[in-house]
Symmetry: C2
Subunit: 157 residues, 2 copies
């Protein structure tokens, strides 16, 4: 089976199949004399596994762990469950963050006349976050502190 057929059969694009191979998520496919990648039904099975896991929002790194457990007949289901629970927790956190954003915006939007006049509580809040709309200071995903203000012995002029 060629890569295009494997792509059709698995729902993973040919591009991504090559990418997964290059990054080591899946083993390198065998090649024909002409250099074409060759796939078996089993390979497609693996690809479908990957596809499904992506659909469930697992990162490629997580899928790597899941694939190893999948292949390991002596795995402990606890390990699988841990990965899944961690991912659920991640999803819940992101959902909560986005719900808070949406809720705040909804509040602001409701106060906006949405006509030809310039006055708008949305812009007003962006300018000076109101206590009501600001909520607890949240950290965006992946955001990390700056190196921190290193102290100067005497204040800057």
């Amino acid at each position: 089976m060629n890569i295009g057929q494997a792509a059709n059969a698995s729902g993973v694009s040919a591009k991504m199949i090559r990418y997964y191979e290059a990054t080591g998520l899946i083993p390198a496919a065998s090649r024909t004399d002409a250099g074409y990648r060759n796939y078996t039904e089993n390979d497609v099975h693996v690809l479908r596994f990957v596809r499904r896991a992506r659909d469930l929002g697992f990162s490629v790194a997580e899928i790597d762990g899941l694939l190893q457990l999948w292949r390991n007949r002596r795995r402990r289901s606890a390990d699988v469950k841990r990965i899944a629970l961690g991912h659920i927790e991640d999803l819940r956190q992101r959902i909560a963050d986005m719900q808070e954003m949406a809720g705040t915006l909804q509040q602001l939007v409701m106060g906006c006349s949405g006509d030809d006049r310039p006055d708008c509580p949305i812009l007003a809040d962006l300018e000076q976050p109101s206590a009501a709309a600001a909520g607890e200071p949240k950290r965006r995903r992946g955001a990390v502190d700056e190196p921190g203000v290193r102290k100067r012995k005497t204040p800057r002029r």
Copy 2:
């Protein structure tokens, strides 16, 4: 005010301030003789606006639009509202997608013993999505169709 002080005062990292300047989101700051960027209280005000908008999940492109409206005293609040509503819709869609993922996973996790045994419905579902857990086929954010299967007049051997 130096960039570091503007960063501290606005909550936007110095790195990002330079980035926003380079991409044209904010105007280029004036410079000292030595080439240091110089910021005013008003610049910090703009940066806080940007920061707040990022916290609410607006993309940089959307913030660009919001900033222009903010600066325009003859803006129509309807334009602001439209951007906000579009963003809310986007958030809701993503929330729904993630909730579905989390729900499916929660189902699977509940069926997993999470002990030393290898049997695990989570892996089983990844292998062969069950109708119950599969749901309607959803499209991941940004996912786009492959070029499509171009038809071969006769089937491949």
